[in-house]
Amino acid sequence: MISNYLKLAWRMLGRNKFFTFISLFGISFTLGILMVILSFLQSELGTNRPLTHKNDFVVVNMLTLKTEFFDTIVGVDTSFIDSKMVLDSTLEIKSSGSMQWNSEMNNGIAEEYLSDLPSAEKMTVFIEHSEYDVYINGVKLKLHSLHGDVNYWDLIDHQILDGRVFDKAEFDQAAKVVVISDKTALNYFGKTTGVVGNEMLLDGLNYKVIGMYKHFGKIVPYVSPDVVLPYTCAQLDNQDSFYHGFFCTLFKKKSGVSSEKLKEEIKYAASTIPMDHPSKPEGYEQLEFNPATYDEVFAQAIYYEREASKSLWIAKWILISLMSFFIVLPTLNLINLNVSRILDRSSEIGVRKAFGAHKGNIVAQFVFENVLQTLLGGLIGLGLAVFLIKLINKSGFIRNAILELSPNFFLYSFLVTLLFGILSGLLPAIKMSKLQIVNALKENKL
């Protein structure tokens, strides 16, 4: 039976070439663009390297010093009790605004008060956004650096191609060592082999290259630096402040506990930090952390809400509604086309029904045909997507982002294609299956 369906579907494709073209154009383009978007989300937010532990991450990238102001509002009501006037006053205390100072934190505060939370397996502190200008034969190379500690390498799962990462001893001694990405190696040394052991001149100081990791172009933070150095060799000014500094803190939660629990612990830890240090800026009374999971950090870039989970919720809905808008139109288009096309085959349906085919058989046949057509379109779409992805990667159209083609990507693309085929085929098929035999056969064209 399947082979019959296949044969029929194939014949139908060839029967009206213009319609087949319109359908395939719509299908392949829609699916192609969906696949590019999928690939983008997958390579940015999937749990592929170096973000293998992404789902266990909780980030604290901000320390907030704040003071809330309150207004006391006195309301007076008059009422008559026993024909005597009685005043009834109510007090309401309302927040009338707040003063906030958000900045990254001092590493000392993180290491002292956040380092052994019960739900956290590991913690790393690092400075993310400094830059080095280096000159090679008069050409400038901008290097984005990350100054981290030893735990950084455990949390961010970089693929080490050559050499090794810095260890505890080197970190403590502030050894002048650097781990670089293969992209940096190519830009700086002109080669990716045998760079380990060479010297690199950063800000007038010689650093020894001890390792090389693979560069994954990603927009998401913390994972695509050009060079990684121990933060003990960073020239830090402003270290006299106990509270604010340059550091971001990243936690990996223990398996089995929820990230909400870890977030609660971090929020609680904030309240244990003393507020009487002499470096505290005047007028601030409270200290707050605003922990977020890794996805929530990404969502905050799309739509910022101070409550990170709310950000994620809103960003999710923005994405879902945009995507569904984008899918609904081509689906409707295909349904419209199919509804008119299928009319052509009323006599065929009539004959099949007259010979005892059930409604279900007919629906199955048409949906099958449509799915087959969609899969064909999906295949063309895949080609288009691969082409577009190559083009985007090559042109650097999206700054610093490299889209990947992973096995998961193909799986998701296939599922999306299938869904699209079933959705757009079902309505016309059901409509046709309801056709009365008499009416169907009356148009005696076969």
Binding site: F19, F25, D237, N238, L329, N333, N336, S340, R399
Partner: protein, 387 residues
């Protein structure tokens, strides 16, 4: 005629409803995309108020590590050294608030009897020449202004338009972190970026002090980037620190607006594709449906209808359907400016509605024309013979 067309539409309400839904959704998508596009283009088309061509920028991290006296002498040394270079025309120092850096400083006061909120921008006297500001009223700062008891102040046109639209404010005094005397108005200084809104901005003259960590340089003509290394070394030796970076405003501008452009191009690309897709779909459906009605056409022709009448009828049918769908779309879209859902200007949404409507009708008419003309060519002998 219209009544007749309505009846024809109603007879096939099922498939017509689907088609109307598709047109309606296309309208909504177009409306949002165009609103977004117009919104951003309006901003890009406004003047930045300054030039980015041949302007370089040095960012120095280490300045705030020095004590204030040392910082001032170091900065003055640096300025002297830079201005002596034959490639450099003009040098201006700013704080961390520099073009495209993403830093902002806002302040507000109600001391003047109304709420005044502005962007603040610390500047020196050389900024005018370095980035080419445009003074539209009054004058720019001179060195003497630093010694005035009532501090002079220069604002942008947006500030005047919002807070003092009626009269010339030159030499008037108002309160903004103390008494300030307005001496000049520049047209604009949108340092946040090309996609930033035009906001009231106050340029405040500042003396050399510790935090002046950004240097803007106007170069003499198009200096090759190889000069950067020389500049880098000179800066390093003068301020005795190596953590400096050099960049050009052109580069920073491109970097800053890249994200917005990526989104705009991607949206336009997707929207364009949706339009083509819908157009092709409509064309297919119309062509098909009209072919299904050959006998009706034949009959009308046999009864004396001209071919132009046939075409007219089909076009009218599809136009009516579109009108219904777009009317529904306009009903929803117009709620946004009417109910003041957003703070953006109403004209933006009216423009988008107008253009979306035009595009949809253009698309539909183009798609309907060919099948309708084709239909009119059907000869009654052929079409009636079939039935």
């Amino acid at each position: 005629m219209i009544k007749h067309v309505f009846k024809l539409l109603w007879n096939k309400k099922g498939s017509n409803a689907l088609m109307a839904l598709e047109i309606f959704l296309s309208f909504i998508v177009l409306f949002f995309v165009l609103s977004y596009l117009f919104f951003n283009l309006d901003r890009v088309n406004q003047t930045l108020g300054f030039e980015t061509e041949n302007v370089w920028m040095i960012e120095m991290d280490a300045i705030d590590k020095l004590d204030s006296l040392e910082a001032v002498t170091t900065l003055q040394n640096l300025k002297r050294n830079l201005i002596n270079l034959k490639e450099i025309e003009s040098v201006s120092f700013t704080e961390s608030i520099a073009p495209f850096k993403g830093n902002q400083w806002r302040t507000g006061t109600d001391d003047n009897g109304f709420n005044m909120n502005t962007l603040m921008c610390p500047v020196d006297t050389d900024l005018l020449a370095t980035v080419g500001l445009n003074v539209v009223q009054g004058r720019w700062y001179t060195e003497e202004d630093l010694n005035e008891t009532i501090k002079p102040i220069v604002v942008n046109q947006a500030f005047i338009d919002r807070y003092y639209p009626d009269k010339s404010m030159i030499d008037s005094i108002f309160i903004l972190n103390g008494d300030r005397r307005l001496i000049g108005v520049i047209d604009e200084y949108r340092y946040i970026g090309e996609f930033a809104d035009s906001e009231p901005t106050v340029m405040e003259l500042t003396d050399y002090f510790q935090n002046m960590g950004n240097v803007l340089l106007k170069m003499k003509g198009d200096i090759p980037t190889s000069f950067e290394e020389e500049l880098y070394n000179l800066t390093n030796t003068t301020i005795k620190s190596t953590s400096n970076t050099i960049t050009t405003l052109e580069y920073e501008r491109a970097k800053d607006s890249n994200e917005s452009w990526v989104l705009i191009v991607a949206l336009l690309f997707i929207c364009g594709f949706l339009c083509i897709n819908v157009a092709l779909g409509l064309f297919g459906v119309l062509w098909y449906n009209i072919n299904k009605r050959r006998s009706e056409i034949g009959l009308r022709q046999a009864l004396g209808a001209h071919s132009i009448d046939i075409t007219k009828q089909f076009i009218l049918e599809i136009l009516l359907l579109t009108l219904l769908a777009v009317g529904l779309g306009i009903f929803f879209a117009i709620q946004i400016p009417l109910l003041k859902v957003t703070e953006y200007p109403d004209s933006l949404f009216y423009r988008s509605i107008l253009f979306s409507t035009l595009i949809i009708f253009l698309l539909v008419i183009t798609c309907a024309l060919f099948p309708s003309v084709q239909a009119a060519r059907i000869s009654p002998a052929d079409s009636l013979h079939e039935d």
